[in-house]
């Protein structure tokens, strides 16, 4: 079958903008908006279409940790401290503080753009989760009121419209494949990027004064399905860690890339689509769960007290200031643990029988309505695939109960060696300006180390964008290095030649199996080094013999080359952490004795991989440093 787009692989298109935004998801769009406010010209480039791209493209139901919203009873300092304490300091204080302080500001911006952030239709008047004055709705802890329920399906289209209104240059369907550095040197200032059109194959060269890296986090490093690659991971197929790969190649610093968890989700065979099977997690909190005989499964607070009323599920325990639930909260420590159904082991002992079911039928009406039709409906990938689908199948939340699979929301079990970058994995290292060690390269959203979720992406996006624009004012354009551009051109287009070459799926499967074998649950130098050798063999022997039939397939192939680079980065990071680190889920069979090392920061140089240690509290005092660095003035001066 003929490829319907024109072949433009011999075309070269040049772009120039003060600020270049790499990625058009939530972080990228908010970065472009933040940068535009400073007045400079801004160009945003996205692999897909800005209206629906990114992990939050199809919606979101919860905006976490907006500690400065008018109803919040928790300060940004308290909330950030809780997140840090929950991980013994192995978390991103800077990015989460920005999230906690500025999340509410960004939500108001999105409202002005046309996104729906409050119950303007008065659907939930009188609900315990609603503030009557502001009409804001809250999730999880109704006393803390730091996480809002939002109509996230309206957000991305609103942002796309705003970008046009602001005059941001938008380049869609272009995959950026590499960063350009000053004099083409590894570790040099970021001066641009290159990429190609995923429909026509045209080559694009971007020159900029500063750039913001917003390309989400890696995926498909350990888990792959040739039959359902689009269902392998939680995020979209094309959120694959291109940013991490090109950053590593350019000499950027990374930390905590050795942190991974046993697989939690893959609908490519095991899990069901997110929030489509019975569960009481996030979107479905705090629905009733029942067993096969219709017996209600008890909820307990963190002290083990069985809750007797639904309303108790939304308030902290006695002597507990607040609890946290949400994307990055997996197995919370006691201090912030919220109500939960009893663990399966206890239920089994008490005679509860599988399968369990999620039961909305006996919830107070407003709790049922806010889950079924709002949370399920506004959360990404739920409006059509879950809400409309189940209704079409005849599901009635007042009559039917939805089966749970396995014993938790993940709806599946994985082997310890089948790992994922879930929760708060590693990413780019940065400073209080969200600038990386590559001068001129800023970063936002899930590319940051220990970062997660929608409000975080929006807050850090705007912050990084305005810093990039501010810095660009005092910078000149630097010449691009022809040899660096030419080498990237050669690398990108090579796979279009050899029709007998290896296709992207075969390579992705091989990388995943290699990582399972050599970089599984328990690490040791012998296995890690062998794994690195195997990956280097793919680099030497396989990359020159790949084939892509058209620019779309080329996109998938270059993504897999990026998976290979990320796998190497993960192994290098693992080699450089010599001791066990519980908070990084990192264990060695050959570990040195002694307390866990703090952040281990790695980067690629001319002379190989270098590592250094950075103290867990390198962010310093949050209020002071935020005041010094945030570039905010005006109505926020009372905060600083």
């Amino acid at each position: 079958m003929r490829w319907p787009y024109e072949n433009k692989t011999d075309e070269v298109i040049h772009h120039r903008s003060s600020v270049l935004i790499l990625g058009g998801g939530i972080a990228g769009c908010m970065a472009a908006i933040g940068a535009s406010i400073e007045g400079d010209d801004v160009l945003l480039v996205d692999k897909g279409c800005v209206r629906y791209s990114g992990a939050g493209g199809s919606g979101c139901d919860h905006w976490e940790s907006a500690a400065t919203n008018p109803c919040s009873t928790v300060s940004p300092e308290e909330l950030t401290k809780a997140m840090l304490d929950d991980n013994d300091g192995y978390n991103n204080a800077i990015s989460h503080y920005i999230e906690c302080v500025e999340g509410w500001d960004r939500l108001q911006d999105i409202e002005k753009m046309g996104g729906k952030i409050r119950d303007t239709e008065d659907e939930f008047v009188g609900a315990a989760f609603r503030d009557e004055k502001t009409k804001l709705l809250f999730a999880y802890d109704y006393k803390a009121r730091t996480t809002l329920r939002i109509w996230g399906t309206t957000f991305k289209p609103a942002m796309a419209k705003e970008l046009k209104r602001l005059g941001v240059k938008i380049c869609e369907r272009i995959m950026v494949t590499g960063l350009l550095t000053e004099d083409g040197c590894i570790g040099g200032r970021c001066v641009g990027a290159v990429g190609f059109d995923v429909r026509t194959g045209a080559f694009h060269v971007f020159q900029c004064k500063t750039a913001v890296m917003c390309m989400s986090r890696p995926a498909r490093v350990w888990i792959f399905s040739a039959a359902y690659p689009g269902l392998c991971e939680f995020r979209p197929t094309n959120c694959i860690g291109d940013g991490h790969a090109m950053g590593w190649r350019a000499g950027a610093e990374f930390t905590l890339m050795e942190r991974s968890v046993k697989g939690e989700f893959s609908a490519a065979g095991r899990s069901y689509p997110p929030y489509m099977a019975g569960n009481n997690h996030n979107t479905w909190y705090a629905t009733d769960l029942i067993d096969a005989k219709g017996r209600a499964i008890p909820y307990a607070d963190r002290d083990g007290n069985i809750l007797t009323d639904v309303s108790q599920r939304f308030y902290p325990a006695k002597d507990q200031p607040f609890f946290l639930k949400g994307g990055a909260i997996d197995e919370p420590l006691f201090d912030i643990a919220g109500p939960e159904t009893l663990p399966y082991e206890q239920l089994h002992e008490k005679g509860y029988q599988l399968p369990f079911y999620a039961d909305l039928s006996e919830l107070p009406q407003e709790e049922r309505k806010v889950i079924w039709g709002m949370m399920v409906g506004q959360e990404g990938k739920t409006q059509v695939p879950v809400y409309r689908y189940l209704i079409e199948q005849g599901f009635d939340p007042e009559k039917h109960v939805l089966q749970c699979y396995g014993t938790g929301w993940k709806s599946a079990e994985f082997l310890p060696k089948e790992r994922q970058l879930f929760g708060i994995p590693g990413g780019f290292m940065h400073d209080w300006d969200l600038q990386t060690n590559l001068p001129g390269l800023y970063c936002a959203g899930d590319v940051l180390f220990s970062s997660d979720c929608y409000g975080h992406a929006a807050a850090t996006g705007h912050y990084a964008g305005r810093h990039a624009a501010h810095a660009a004012k005092n910078l000149d354009y630097k010449a691009l290095t022809k040899s660096q551009v030419d080498e990237e051109h050669r690398r990108i287009y090579a796979p279009l030649q050899d029709q007998d070459g290896i296709r992207w799926k075969e390579l992705n499967e091989a990388i995943a199996k290699t990582m399972q074998n050599y970089c599984g649950e328990v690490k040791c130098d012998g296995l890690l080094k062998t794994g690195l050798e195997e990956l280097e063999k793919y680099e030497q022997n396989v990359l020159p013999h790949l084939y892509a039939a058209n620019p779309h397939e080329l996109m998938r192939l270059i993504e897999v080359e990026d998976v290979l680079t990320v796998a190497q980065l993960i192994i290098h990071s693992s080699l450089n952490r010599r001791r066990d680190c519980k908070q990084a889920h990192f264990y060695r069979s050959d570990g040195e004795a002694g307390p866990s090392e703090p952040f281990i920061v790695v980067r690629k140089t001319q002379d190989g991989v270098k590592a250094r240690q950075v103290s867990l509290d390198f962010a310093g005092d949050l209020r002071t440093n935020y005041a010094l660095h945030s570039l905010k003035g005006g109505n926020d001066s009372e905060r600083v």
């Binding site: 279409c49 429909r199 269902l231 689509p273 409006q383």
Partner: protein
């Protein structure tokens, strides 16, 4: 007797376009962030790379005429029952 064909065996068919309702506007193609849909000039779009679909449903949300529908593979269709059945037995 008509001749047989060799055809690829799909693991799933997520996207279904009703030709009688399709306006050939191409909005579904432009809405797909993963670019799985293609449209030859004036004809009905189809999923050239259906295996890459991440089942977000944005194409369905975007279609102005309800022509496109999303289908989960059999293995991903969860079960639900009438609650009273559980207590009846």
């Amino acid at each position: 007797m008509s001749a047989f064909e060799i055809r690829p065996v799909e693991a799933a068919k997520p996207i279904c376009v009703d030709e009688t309702k399709c306006l050939r506007c191409g909005q579904c193609v432009e809405a797909c962030a993963i670019d799985v849909l293609v449209q030859e000039a004036g004809s009905v779009p189809f999923a050239a790379y259906a295996d890459e679909c991440w089942y977000c449903g944005c194409c369905v949300m975007e279609c102005p005429n309800g022509a496109i529908s999303l289908h989960h593979p059999l293995m991903n269709q969860p079960r639900f029952v009438e609650k009273k059945r559980l207590t009846e037995e």
